[in-house]
Amino acid sequence: MTDHPVSEADLQAYADGELPEERRAAVAAWLAAHPDDAERIESYRRLAQELRGAYHGVLDEPVPERLGRAVRASRARRAALVATWVALGAALGGIGGWELHSMQAPPAASGDVVAGLARRAAVAHAVYSPEVRYPVEVRADQEAHLVKWLSKRLGTQLRAPKLESVGYNLVGGRLLPGESGPVAHFMYQSERGTRVTLYVRSDMASTRSTAFRYALNGNVGVFYWVDSKLGYAISSGDISKEDLLNVANAAYQQLNPP
């Protein structure tokens, strides 16, 4: 055994403690007779130690919230949203049909339009709320710009309600295509990573104003209402109906002050 020539692979493996027991003594003996190589192999070991030392601190750093959320939130949301997609499958077909119809004829009965508001809001929520990296087009640090931009596109002065009092911070917003024009979409997030979205359309003029209503589309709960030409819907798939109601109430009071 001892007569086996010592290869470079043996030396590397020796440095990493990867060498089989029966070979180790032979390599150690060989190294004793070759001080230059012994020094080199020792430097490899030192290097490994230095590397571990240099990056050890990273293990003790607090994990950024967004990384824990990448698992936790996507787990909860994906599970919830699978059911939503199934449930929305039929509804989407309905919306498509209604859209074609609306191009040729005056808007259908307002009940359909209002129900369409909740369904569309649920779809928008299901599409955008699982996004971890790009949940919004414009982030909350440019809130003034965001609101101004969306207001301009929707042709009416909008507001992003402040929901801190009920535990939600604005993440930002985006512009979406609606049934007959642009839609504003605001996203909010809690400390726990749960998300709520506010869907606003400004083409509800032909519809009577309505009180607060609730619809469940798959696992996405939606509170929605119409105030003159504006239709609002607050959606979440992460939280209970009671918690969502609490958020929706806070938004409602700011958007429709008594």
Partner: protein, 166 residues
Amino acid sequence: MNEAQRLVDLIPRLRRYARALVGDRATADDLVQDTLERAWAKLHLYRRGTDLRAWLFTVMHNVHVNRVRAARATDTLEDEMPELAQRAPQGDALLVRDLDRAITRLPAEQRAVLLLVTLEEMSYEQVARTLGIPIGTVMSRLSRAREKLRAMMLGQGAAAKLKLVK
């Protein structure tokens, strides 16, 4: 224990490896985030009872390769200097900075092997499985990486001495 919790438990190790692999903290955490999202989406492909850490590092390796490829498509980088972004300062020790800088000068495939062996203390066989390469390739890359790193560190030492003499 469920896989989601085990994924979460492995985050610090993913971050450590990513930091050494790409250098600056924000880019490293982006890599970890992409890895976790992909791992979560692909978790059904993970075979229960096998090494979750090795699987997760495989996912990270694939994500990393894709990211580097995407970055290359937009700017032309030399082979020897892949995705070398400006490194954020990483601690005060000169040694750490030098080591840190020297590692980013290694060709990407050698760097990955070296870090998995030294930082993650994976066996050669685990590294081979993680990176999807033969064990002989692991060993030759490791050997080249070490020699190159040693030469760089010696060079730096020599440069430092020259400065002092002057």
